[in-house]
Symmetry: C2
Subunit: 291 residues, 2 copies
């Protein structure tokens, strides 16, 4: 059997699958309840062994919030997991499982999951964008996950779209995330990202106006994504899927306003299908092709 783990700031999810990638059992826990990296690794190993139910475990892949060092299997200092600094999580799990463990960026693996089993099925090159508290991306180019020379490609949230724009937490001005990220929207409303998208969907006019405004900026980001990556499909996941009916017409309109995108590229814009399961599905896929 192989395993895929999706480690988030809120939940840890484990999926156990056949060597061909068919998921047979899943488990999850609250990240906070497990507290330390050691206990997360121990819990994940225990669950994998339990769910494998006596069958041999060949190895696993973990999706984790960046920045990570995928070559060494280390979480560097993820803002979403305070206190996790230079944690060699892949090695810690590998030791307990007795098999190889690969580490990848969580948005990359969610993108891989959507590409193979969700909204990206049938596409050639797909850009997956997750838009929640932060803004991240996974690049599946001609069927392959592209993660860059240092494992940190696809940082769409920190693409500068206006050098006079608001200051971003990263230190740059006018990043996509500074305009659109839920944390930034939250400062305007006092709500969490998911709540803003929910309120907008429920007809709250202030939330809807904020979400529409953010969507016009995200639309500029999508123009750049189309002009740089020329994907046939762009999939959007994360909290934004909750107010998709409010957001997607704005995104489509801004995309159409670009003559080059309209004439040559026309990526199809799709809502993610796998929801919270995208990460674990992608982790299983990554384990399948990389073990």
């Amino acid at each position: 059997m192989i395993a895929g783990i999706d480690l988030g700031g809120t939940q840890v999810r484990v999926a156990v699958a056949s060597p061909e990638g068919e998921i047979v059992a899943v488990a999850r826990a609250r990240t906070h309840a497990l507290k330390t990296p050691e206990r997360v690794a121990a819990w994940a190993a225990d669950q994998i062994v339990r769910l494998a139910d006596g069958r041999q475990v060949l190895g696993a892949a973990i999706g984790a919030p960046g920045p990570i060092d995928p070559a060494r299997g280390v979480l560097v200092n993820p803002p979403n997991l305070p206190g996790w600094r230079n944690v060699p999580l892949a090695g810690m799990l590998a030791e307990r499982l007795g098999g190889p463990v690969r580490l990848q960026n969580d948005a990359n693996l969610a993108g891989l999951g959507e590409y193979h089993h969700g909204a990206g099925r049938g596409s050639q090159s797909m850009v997956y964008i997750t838009w929640s508290t932060g803004v991240g991306a996974g690049l599946i180019l001609e069927g392959q996950l592209y993660s860059g020379s240092h494992g940190s490609a696809g940082e769409i949230g920190h693409m500068i779209i206006d050098p006079e724009g608001p200051l971003c937490q990263c230190g740059q001005r006018g990043c996509v995330e500074a305009f659109c990220g839920g944390a930034s929207l939250g400062r305007q409303t006092g709500l969490a990202a998911v709540q803003i998208f929910d309120e907008a969907a429920n007809g709250d006019s202030e939330a809807a106006a904020i979400v529409r405004q953010a969507a016009t900026h995200m639309g500029l980001a999508l123009i750049n994504v189309a002009n740089l990556f020329d994907p046939d499909v762009i999939v959007m996941g994360g909290g934004v899927t909750r107010s998709w009916h409010q957001v997607s017409p704005v995104l489509a309109q801004v995309l159409r306003s670009s003559p080059f995108v309209r004439a040559w590229r026309r990526p199809r814009l799709r809502r993610a299908r796998l929801g919270d399961r995208a990460g674990q599905v992608g982790a299983v896929e990554w384990a399948r092709v990389n073990l």
Copy 2:
């Protein structure tokens, strides 16, 4: 033998190489003098046969200014070749040569040339940026040319870096090309792109100020390129190489101003090495791997 053709607005270049890609002979002509697509195809075929000197020609690749349709081998309506509309150049040449002919974007093939035989040698993932009258790019990701689902990836010149910026010829506002392209700089100075870069290199203070200002905008584009593609090397070619000593410190400084780029990505910035030969060298490489 195999052949590589680089079709530019000014010159057409032909290189004939061994099946392993070693160039044995080259020829060139002025595009204007040949006038029509038919005469360009006829001239290229004649040169290839002449340079092959009795040896069999297995096929060829052509680099041409976009937009192109690589799947059909058609130049759509390149601004740099007025009057060329929907020209099936690959088919026209294939008929005369009696072998397969592939068409690719010129910046893509120049990038491929620099990757294998120029400033990108030894890199894993490289972004090649050509900065002259226009601004284009070629993406060589993990050793493979990535050209997107519709053959038009890497359109860095039309990345929006300021939605309130100057109107671009493409119809968008605030594109990289509207800030930095030689055509745009020329409107400020009355000089051609190459002349501006030359004047800046020769110490002309007005030209140097314009080039430095343009370089700060190009630096923002490089931050976005680093955050999106995470290449280990960025190679810059085109007219800008003439004032590289004026431009490169500005580019490097802007790149370093991005905390994420400084911390995680640090692409090496290099000046292109192959000059005007990059296109034909890349075309031979493309022929070698795709025939």
